[in-house]
Every structure is written in structure tokens, then in C-alpha cells.
């Protein structure tokens, strides 16, 4: 690899965003303290222009840096998801960080750097890139989790996330080392070839796969590596939690699918049952634990664990061989749906939240149906979407992913999926009950940027639930014949 590689076409999106983030850090120094929203708008501009760069890069030769990265259609699909999530996060955070006196320029840059990490994970074609990208994603998130200075629970959240995250990274590195020991390479395609060639030491290989699963399982919060999630989600600033729960998860899944289906494809039959069981356990534990929560942030934390289980289902749905286009598109579509729905939901949580991390009880939503009918209606749509009921994008996503699972012969997993969706109906409906059927004096604070974010996500949740074809086409076109 030499410096000339860095100018390769396919690296332009990530390079562009990196440059933007770095320049933004400097530009921010000249933006007066009381007008930091300007930085926010500049960030949005950067994200939007990156999306345009991505659109113009599509179709270029995907392999770059001597085969270490491979930015194919799957990666592009995920880029759009990451950029969307980052943009919604920025929109949500403008009023939030101002209200909570944590308005500092580097907040936005940290979000951009984390987004770059996610993009790296989506295009990784080498274990080293997976690891580096994971760290680029994680380190800004550790900082962001502790961004509410002086609040003990925010500091606790950052500390926990950092310690456990470092631990998980260690697992991942150890796994990579074992796989390297078994196959003599870190390149995903070369690993696959080595396994097929029969040269790989099976004990090292399986040990390595297991440890990699632990490391990435931690990032996407699958059971039994999910223990950190509720505490971290509860303590972190709500807007950061929203970013974690969708962005970091999507990044983790991108890497997981790639590592499993590119590097370890020859031994699919051996690890697929493990993923299936992890998926089932995640859906079951996530949904059952969510039932008893009284804090909306904790409830949504468990809900996000449960959703990790649903997405993981697509990882199995490749089934007995290569990941089908069908399953990969299902996973991508589900992530889009989850992004819209979950970001909207967190937006409403922030509207009801008075100051950071207060008024986070589900009970604090009482009376919202009377006081803010539009906001409550939006929450109803979002809750139905999280449950997976029509006519919302959450339903189409679940339908897609369950169909993929049945297509691959995993009827039992689809059964677990629908039964746990039923369980989830109970706690999502409880929010609706509290809003409409109990009296209370909730006060919602809705600055226009927040309203815009909530409005856009809710409309998208509903509209793409009724006419999803345009969105489906993007996925179907980009993801075809990749795995």
C-alpha cells in the first residue's frame, strides 16, 4: 500500500467526511459560544454532501488499499443508513445540548468521527480494518456517553461503556489473532480461501470465530453480551443514546455480516446454529426484561437489545450457504426502519425530558394525549412500528426479515420472532395507555429542530409503511450478488 491508494475513488466518501470533520473542529474555534447551532448546521451540510459523494462513487471499482477495503453496494446501502442516523442525531441534539449546557463544538465532530468508524466497518475486507474501524467508532462514543459533565450517572455510563468496550475489543483482537494463527492471513477473502483449502487449524479457527462473535456481539448488544446496555443507555445523554442504539448497532452488524459471510462462509453450517440461538435468546431476553421497566430509557434500552435479535435473524437467514441477497436486503431494510422509528422515539423522549435524565419515567408521559395530541399521535405510530404492527415501516421490516428466515428454513426462529413481538406489544402499548388513558400534567418542550426531526421520522415511519417500494428498490439495486 502506498499513499496513492488513498486517492482511490472508492475511498472518497470516507475521506471527504473525515476532512469535513477535521476542518469543522478548527472552524468551530471561530464560532461564538452562544451560536454553536451554526456548527450543527455545518455538520448537517457535511453529512448531506457526503451522501452526494456516496451517490457519485457508486459503481466504482470497490476494492481499494490492496484489498483491505471493499466498498460494494452493501457498504453503500449502509453508508446511507449511517449518514441518515448521524443527520437525525445532529438535528435532535441542537436544542438538547443547548438546553443542558453541554453545547460545545467538538460534540458534532465526535459524531462525525464515530460515523466514519461505522463506514469503515461497513467496507472492511480485512480483520485489521474491522478492528481499527471499531475503535474509531467506539472512542468518540465513550466520550459522548460521558458528555453530561458533573452528572454522576453520565460519568458512570461512560466508564462502564469504556471498560466493557475495551474488554470486548480485547476479545476481538484475540479472536483475530487466533484466526490469523489458523489461516496465516487477516484478509477476509484469503481466510475463506484458506479454510476451503483445508490448511486451517480447526481448533484455532473455531476459537477465533467464537471470540470474534463475543467482541462484535458486545457492540451490537446481543444476549448474553448485553449487560452493559441498560446502564449505559440510561446514564448517557438521551441524544447520544439514540445515536448508540441505532448507529453503533448498525455498524456492528455490518461488520458481523461481512466477517461471517465472507471470511467464515465455508463453515457456515457450524456457526449458523450458534447465531440462530443467540438471535432467539436476544429476542426473548430483551423483550421479557423490557416488560418490567419503569424508566422509558431503560425500556428502550431493552427494546434495542430485542431489535438486535431481530436483525441477527437476517444473519442466519443466509442459512446453509452464502448470505442471500434477500436476507442481506432484509437486514438493511430493517435497519432503515429501525433508524427512523427509534430516532423518532428518542426525539419524543427528549421532548418530554425536562432537564437531562429527569422525567424519564414512563409515568411522566401521562396526559400527553390530551395536552399534545399531535406529539402523542406520533408516539403511537412509533410504538406501533417498534411492535411491528401495520401500517408502519416496522411491520414491513419484520415481515421482510421473518420471510427471509422462513425462506432459509428457520421456521422455529420466525416463530420465536412473532411470539416475542407479541410480548413486546405489552410494553409498547403501556406507553400508549399512559399517554391516553391516564391523566397527568406533562409538559413537552418542542423546539423547532426537534419537531422537525420527530415529524420527519414519524412521517417516514408511516409513509414507508404504506408505500415502501421506493425504499426497497434502493436496497434491492445496491445489494445484489455481493455475498
Amino acid at each position: 500500500m502506498n499513499l496513492a491508494d488513498l486517492t482511490q475513488m472508492v475511498l472518497r466518501p470516507i475521506g471527504f467526511l473525515g476532512l469535513w470533520a477535521s476542518i469543522l473542529l478548527i472552524v468551530d474555534l471561530w464560532i461564538p459560544k452562544d451560536r454553536k447551532t451554526i456548527t450543527g448546521w455545518l455538520t448537517l451540510l457535511g453529512l448531506a454532501s457526503t451522501a452526494i459523494v456516496v451517490a457519485y462513487t457508486t459503481g466504482e471499482d470497490p476494492v481499494a488499499m490492496g484489498g483491505m477495503v471493499k466498498a460494494d453496494g452493501f457498504a453503500y446501502m449502509l453508508y446511507y443508513i449511517f449518514l441518515l442516523v448521524a443527520a437525525l442525531t445532529v438535528l435532535l441534539s441542537m436544542s438538547y445540548i443547548e438546553k443542558n449546557n453541554i453545547e460545545r463544538g467538538e460534540f458534532y465532530s465526535l459524531i462525525l468521527f464515530a460515523t466514519i468508524g461505522m463506514m469503515g466497518m461497513a467496507m472492511a475486507n480485512d480483520m485489521i480494518v474491522v478492528f481499527v474501524a471499531l475503535e474509531v467508532l467506539s472512542i468518540p462514543l465513550y466520550v459522548l456517553a460521558g458528555y453530561l459533565r458533573g452528572k454522576a450517572e453520565s460519568e458512570e455510563s461512560a466508564m462502564k461503556y469504556f471498560l466493557l468496550g475495551a474488554f470486548a475489543s480485547a476479545f476481538l483482537v484475540y479472536g483475530i489473532a487466533l484466526v490469523f494463527g489458523a489461516t496465516g492471513t487477516t484478509n477476509l477473502e484469503a481466510i475463506s480461501a484458506a479454510i476451503e483449502g483445508g490448511a486451517a487449524n480447526r481448533a484455532y479457527l473455531y476459537g477465533g470465530i467464537g471470540l470474534i462473535l463475543v467482541g462484535l456481539g458486545f457492540k451490537v448488544a446481543t444476549v448474553p453480551f448485553h449487560m452493559w446496555t441498560p446502564d449505559v443507555y440510561e446514564g448517557a445523554p438521551s441524544v447520544v443514546t439514540a445515536f448508540f442504539s441505532v448507529g453503533a448497532k448498525a455498524g456492528g452488524f455490518a461488520a458481523l455480516l461481512r466477517v461471517l459471510y465472507v471470511a467464515f462462509e465455508p463453515v457456515t453450517a457450524d456457526w449458523a446454529p450458534v447465531i440462530a440461538i443467540l438471535s432467539a435468546l436476544t429476542m426473548i431476553f430483551g423483550n421479557i426484561s423490557a416488560i418490567t421497566q419503569t424508566s422509558i430509557k431503560r425500556m428502550l434500552a431493552y427494546s434495542s437489545i430485542a431489535h438486535a435479535g431481530y436483525i441477527l435473524m437476517a444473519g442466519v437467514a443466509g442459512g446453509q450457504g452464502a448470505l442471500t441477497d434477500f436476507a442481506a436486503s432484509a437486514a438493511a431494510f430493517y435497519l432503515v426502519g429501525y433508524a427512523f422509528t427509534n430516532m423518532g422515539t428518542w426525539g419524543i423522549v427528549m421532548a418530554v425530558e425536562k432537564e437531562a435524565n429527569t422525567n424519564n419515567e414512563i409515568a411522566s408521559f401521562a396526559g400527553l394525549g390530551k395536552k399534545r395530541p399531535m406529539l402523542a399521535m406520533a408516539m403511537v405510530v412509533l410504538m406501533l412500528s417498534l411492535t411491528g404492527l401495520p401500517p408502519t415501516i416496522g411491520f414491513v421490516g419484520k415481515f421482510y426479515i421473518f420471510t427471509a428466515a422462513i425462506d432459509a428454513g428457520y421456521m422455529w426462529l420466525a416463530l420465536v420472532g412473532v411470539v416475542t413481538s407479541l410480548i413486546s406489544a405489552y410494553y409498547y402499548l403501556r406507553v400508549i395507555i399512559v399517554m391516553y388513558m391516564q391523566d397527568g400534567d406533562v409538559e413537552a418542550d418542542l423546539p423547532w429542530t426537534l419537531s422537525l426531526a420527530v415529524g420527519l421520522t414519524t412521517i417516514a415511519t408511516f409513509v414507508f409503511g404504506v408505500i415502501p417500494q421506493s425504499l426497497l428498490n434502493i436496497g434491492n439495486d445496491l445489494i445484489s450478488g455481493i455475498f
Binding site: F326, K370, F402, I406, A414, L429, Y436, L472
Partner: protein, 506 residues
């Protein structure tokens, strides 16, 4: 093409209420009467559109008519999902029943609902969209969308405007019905993948699912429908939901929503899985008969009138199920007519109970007595509706139940008279509990001081009840037009079922 779809009769009848919702959103909350008129007007226009649909419908043609078909979504490689609506003899009466009952139920809740009026009527109109959609949808995905969607407005209607235990009842209703639906969802996805289409018409034409797989699919669909009907032993959500729901909610719940389940059995189970239907017919008929007897026996000791009517629904829907699983022409025709009858009679009963509840705010039968002398018009109407409900010849209930019993007697699929014999006992039991109720509430001297000065029905209440009464007599005395509407389609269905039966019995 898009405009064509939008203006098609079936699209119009399904989605017209949304227009009303849209208008209502812009009416200020305080103008309650305006809101009521807009909502009722919307429902009435929807009814008129459904009459236009009836005019365009050709009863002699057994196939789907007035079809609307638009490709909707494609998951890439998988089967295409279509926006497919259509009507035939099996669904037309149920659509008409829906559009007919909704404005009456809305008009009936004029004085009953005084809080959050706008939201109430919005949810009501949304409910109408969902229910009509269920009856018209011919694509499994679309059907499921409408099917699940009906839960949401009903959940709000019970949960916000219901009685004391409303939250419990609402969530129980929601989770119970969703529990059944999710199994159906799995079966729908399986069909889409393995049969290559979600289109109901294509699926029926294609057939060819091997019998052992059919049984699983049958059971998965049946889980959803049996809970909705509700069949014994899956009925326990019904009394709670009915007792807690506001009057109009109960009317629609009993009048239309329960029929979504029985309709599902005819449209999907009998048509798509004929072999499995034959296999499970004795089991379904047994459960139906148990439901008939059980519902009747449990109705008898109830003190709460609404609960009595609720349990009587379990009994009446048992008749419908028995007729369907007789798997012959008489049985199925009787069952479809009985669905309509039950909607009319039970709808009227709930409305009448609601009227006296608005006056006294109790539904305990012991609180009443001798009402006939105080409210003669009300008493007379109640008597007629009760008689209709228990199946007195000359009124609508008799025609349905009698045809069903005939069907069950001659059923080759059931192969035994024993079902019909036990079911007939249910008719007698119905007379016992209905007349006991009538006696307790209306006959004898006025014992309770509070009942002495009750006002008889006013013009608004009469306007609500009289259309129902007209139908009670019409169907009772001259049911031929109703049978004609469904005849051709039912013939076609039974012909295919007969073929299967003939093979099995050979």
C-alpha cells in the same frame, strides 16, 4: 391507472371514511355537534357508496367482481405483493352490514360520548376503513394489514371511552387477538414463499398443497380466526371487552368485528385448505356445539345485561361455525346469513341496553323490573329484538339458525346428526335466558323508585333502532334476496368442497 384505482368503487367504499377523518382534523374540538354531523355524514355517504357497489354487483357471477389490482411491493426475488380488492357473494353482505351499522352506532352515541368527541369519531371512522378492508382484501399481505389495523382504533375506543376496567379490557383484547394473528402471519409468509404468491385468488386456483401441510396452515389461520369469533375455549377476552366498551363499541365489536373471524374461515380456511377443512370439520363442529351450549348456559345467571348479551354472542357464533363446517350449501349460506342476523340483532340489543344505561347508569338487572309500564315503546322494541335473537319464526334469527341446522343435519362432512341435535338444544336455551332477562327487566310491578320516572325513547333513539327493526322483519319474512346475493359464490365454494369430500369418502 392510479386515478382509475382511486376512483374504483371498492377503493372508494374502503377509504372514503379517511376523507372524513381528514376533515375532522381541522374542526376545532369545541364544536362537538359539527364533529358529530361530519362523522355521521361521512359514514352515511360510505353507506351510499356501498349501495352503488351493490348496484354494480352481479349476483349471478360467482367470481370476484369490481376488482382493483395494483402491484404494491416486491421484496426482490420474492413474491410480489399486490393491492388487490374484490367482492363476491361471500363478502358483499358483510360489507353492507358494516356500512349500515356504523352510522347507526355513531348516531347512537350522540349523547353517550361527551368527552374527547373528535378523537372518538376519528377512531370510529378509522375502524370502518379497517373492517371494510378486511372484507375486500384479496391479497394476504393486504388482508393482514387491515386485520391488524382494526385492533388499534378498537383498542382506543375501549381504552379511552370504556367502563371502569377499561384499560385491562383493552389490553386483554389487543394481546389476545394479536396472539392469534401472529400465527396466521407465519402461515401467510410460508404461503408467499412456497406458493410463490400472496394473492388469494391465485392461491385458491393453484391449490396443490399436500394435505399434511394444509393441516398446519389451517391451524395457523384458525388460531387467528377462532380467537376473533370467538370459539370456545378462546372466548375469555370477549365478555371483558364487551362489558367495558362504550355502547357503540360493543355494537361494532359484536356486529362486525366478530364476523371478521367467521368470514376469515370461509374465505381462507375453507377455500385454500379444503382437505384440511374436511379433516378438521368434526373437531370444529364439536367446539361450535360446545360454544352454543356453553354460551347459553353462562348467559343465564348473568346479572349484568351487557354480559348476558356478550355470552349470548358466543352461543350465536357457535351456530355460524357449525354451519360453516357442515361444508355444504345450506350450512354455509345459513352461516353467512346468520352472521348478518347476529350483527343486526345483537347490535340492536347492545344499543337498547345502552339507552337504558344512559338513563340509569347501571346494567344490573335486579335494579330494573316493570319497565314495560314506564317505557312501553322501549319494552316493545326490546321484546321484538329479544325474540329475533332467540330465533322466533317470522324474524331474522330463525331463518339463519334453521338453515344452519338443516345443513348440519344433512352434512356428509360431519357424517352424524348428533351435532345438529345438540345445537337445536341451544335454541331452547336461548329462549330461556332471553325470556328470563325480559321478565326480570320489563314485567311485573315497578319495584325500584328510581325507575318510576324514566322517559321513553326519544326520536333520535328511534331513528337508530327502526332501520334495524325493518331488517329484522325483512330477513325474517322474505330472505330470498339475501340468499340470492350469496348463492352463486357459495355454490362455487361448495362444489370444490364436495369434490374433496367425494374423494375422501370414496
Amino acid at each position: 391507472m392510479f386515478l382509475q384505482v382511486l376512483t374504483a368503487t371498492l377503493t372508494a367504499v374502503t377509504f372514503f371514511p379517511l376523507l372524513g377523518v381528514l376533515v375532522l382534523l381541522f374542526v376545532p374540538n369545541e364544536r362537538e355537534d359539527t364533529i358529530r354531523w361530519i362523522a355521521i355524514g361521512t359514514a352515511l355517504i360510505t353507506f351510499v357508496i356501498s349501495l352503488v357497489m351493490l348496484g354494480q354487483y352481479n349476483a349471478a357471477d360467482p367470481n370476484m367482481q369490481l376488482e382493483v389490482l395494483l402491484p404494491w411491493m416486491n421484496f426482490g426475488g420474492g413474491s410480489t405483493i399486490g393491492f388487490h380488492l374484490g367482492i363476491d357473494g361471500i363478502s358483499i353482505l358483510l360489507v353492507l352490514l358494516t356500512t349500515f351499522l356504523i352510522p347507526l352506532a355513531m348516531f347512537g352515541s350522540w349523547t353517550g360520548i361527551t368527552e374527547r368527541v373528535k378523537e372518538y369519531y376519528i377512531f370510529f371512522l378509522l375502524l370502518e376503513v379497517g373492517m371494510i378492508g378486511v372484507f375486500l382484501a384479496l391479497d394476504l399481505f393486504l388482508f393482514y394489514v387491515f386485520w391488524e389495523f382494526t385492533l388499534v382504533p378498537m383498542y382506543f375506543l375501549v381504552g379511552i371511552w370504556g367502563g371502569k376496567q377499561r384499560m385491562y379490557a383493552a389490553i386483554k383484547f389487543f394481546l389476545y387477538t394479536m396472539a392469534g394473528s401472529i400465527l396466521m402471519l407465519l402461515a401467510i409468509m410460508w404461503l408467499g414463499i412456497h406458493q410463490g404468491t400472496f394473492d388469494v385468488v391465485e392461491l385458491i386456483a393453484k391449490g396443490g398443497i399436500d394435505p399434511s401441510t394444509q393441516r398446519w396452515l389451517f391451524l395457523a389461520f384458525a388460531a387467528a380466526f377462532a380467537i376473533k369469533v370467538p370459539m370456545f375455549p378462546l372466548h375469555s377476552w370477549l365478555p371483558d371487552a364487551h362489558v367495558q366498551a362504550p355502547t357503540a363499541g360493543s355494537v361494532i365489536l359484536a356486529g362486525v368485528m366478530l364476523k371478521l373471524g367467521t368470514y376469515g374461515f370461509v374465505r381462507f380456511n375453507l377455500s385454500m385448505f379444503p382437505e384440511a377443512s374436511l379433516h378438521f370439520a368434526p373437531l370444529m363442529a364439536t367446539l361450535a356445539v360446545i360454544g352454543i351450549i356453553y354460551g347459553a348456559i353462562v348467559s343465564y345467571p348473568q346479572q349484568d345485561v351487557k354480559k348476558l348479551v356478550a355470552y349470548s354472542s358466543v352461543s350465536h357464533l357457535g351456530f355460524v361455525m357449525l354451519g360453516l363446517f357442515a361444508l355444504n350449501e345450506q350450512g354455509i349460506q345459513g352461516a353467512i346469513l346468520q352472521m348478518v342476523n347476529h350483527g343486526i340483532s345483537t347490535g340492536a340489543l347492545f344499543l337498547l341496553v345502552g339507552m337504558v344505561y344512559e338513563r340509569r347508569h347501571t346494567r344490573d338487572m335486579n335494579e330494573y323490573g316493570g319497565l314495560w309500564t314506564v317505557m312501553p315503546v322501549y319494552g316493545t322494541l326490546m321484546l321484538i329484538v329479544s325474540l329475533s335473537s332467540m330465533g322466533l319464526p317470522g324474524l331474522n334469527g330463525f331463518v339463519g339458525e334453521f338453515t344452519i341446522l338443516l345443513g348440519a343435519f344433512g352434512s356428509e362432512a360431519l357424517g352424524s346428526n348428533i351435532y345438529a341435535i345438540f345445537a337445536a338444544a341451544g335454541v331452547i336455551l336461548a329462549a330461556i335466558y332471553m325470556l328470563t332477562m325480559f321478565q326480570k327487566m320489563f314485567l311485573g310491578p315497578v319495584t325500584n323508585e328510581k325507575n318510576k320516572n324514566l322517559e321513553d325513547l326519544n326520536w333520535r333513539e328511534l331513528v337508530v333502532i327502526i332501520p334495524l327493526l325493518v331488517l329484522i322483519f325483512w330477513i325474517g319474512l322474505y330472505p330470498a334476496p339475501f340468499f340470492n346475493l350469496m348463492g352463486a359464490s357459495v355454490d362455487q365454494l361448495t362444489a370444490s368442497l364436495d369434490a374433496v369430500t367425494a374423494v375422501a369418502l370414496r
